[in-house]
Symmetry: C2
Subunit: 208 residues, 2 copies
């Protein structure tokens, strides 16, 4: 039986080396290459399509999140395992939305990596225990974060930038009264009574 082919994308050279070293003795897995940026990854895939991509979500200045989407669009059969130091909901969420089949933290042991690879190849989803915990914790915490509409988010940003209602209205080509209404709704949703606490809350919840 042919070994499973693995390609590594990570801007940390030592991580590439580390994964290679760890998978060296797995005879059903074969690392067929690696890249440290999006461009050389795409370029490799044009030549050859591995079964699994181990991908760091943070590629220096580039974003693995974008790369993930691109790769999945072009080669949907390639399974992507996200690899990251960051056990943060927003990252995990975005990666999974963009088509990743699993998310591992970089403290993963050899066995976890191989298990994950086999699991995602069977079509499964593999989230490490820590990652699962984070997802759960965030779901709990979501009660605090009011659900804002697109327009409300937009206006919150502009308010945070220090624009007055008039300026916001001009920028969005809507009436001042509309902006006023949205602000009222924002205050209500955040359950606060003025701009100061609104912005404070929004900042604390990392919404601005």
């Amino acid at each position: 039986m042919n070994p499973i082919t693995v390609f590594i994308v990570d801007d940390h050279f030592m991580v590439i080396e580390g994964i290679q070293a760890m998978l060296q003795n797995e005879n059903d897995l074969q690392v067929v290459g690696h890249a440290s940026n999006a461009a050389s990854c795409i370029s490799f895939l044009k030549q050859q399509q591995p079964d699994v991509l181990l991908m760091d979500i943070n590629l220096g200045t580039e974003s693995g999140i974008e790369l993930c989407k691109e790769v999945k669009t072009m080669y949907p059969q390639i399974m992507i395992l996200a690899l990251s130091t960051f056990n943060q909901f927003s990252f995990i969420d975005k990666m999974m939305e963009n088509g990743a089949s699993g998310y591992l933290l970089k403290n993963a042991e050899r066995t976890e990596i191989t298990e994950a690879i086999h699991h995602v190849l069977k079509g499964g989803t593999y989230l490490s225990r820590e990652v699962t915990d984070t997802m759960k914790a965030v779901e709990e915490g979501k009660k605090d974060k009011p659900a804002l509409t697109r327009r409300e988010k937009e206006i919150l940003e502009l308010v945070a930038d220090g624009l007055t209602n008039q300026e916001i209205a001009d920028q969005l080509f809507i009436g001042v009264s509309t902006v006023d209404t949205h602000r009222k709704n924002l205050l209500a949703k955040f359950n606060v009574k003025n701009t100061a606490s609104l912005i404070r809350m929004a900042a604390k919840l990392q919404m601005i």
Copy 2:
């Protein structure tokens, strides 16, 4: 001549593997062991003292920053090279304060690591280019943080809590006009024109 002995402390197994792989062919360097937490590091050092310690600043729940301090207190002759994904001033600063001789990012290449090891062994300080840039940027940025008086900080807090001038005045047993004056000064010092951007700035600068 005896090779330089190196010990690795990192909770990411794949990073340990990676460094080992990278240093394997350097015949004047020898990796004599590794640890994934503070306790086993200390325990190893009781048996044997390497020349250099490559140490991740983030050891899962533990802090490499503390470990650095301990090791340097017990074995000042051991040179410590901090290793981190985070190019953040606070971490860099604390590590150097705690006796580290250098700070590398995990995207370091083989040559950078070996150069750093040799350099710190000679008593030098080795900060990677990115790290140096960050340090400089922070020094620049410090000018942004306005120096507030005690009263101003107090009032900033209360404004952020959503109190009106009247409420603040009542709470601090001062007149409304005084609060007003302080707020005007706050706006001036932050160089903003309304409460929204004031709070946003203060939040960004972690002053509230």
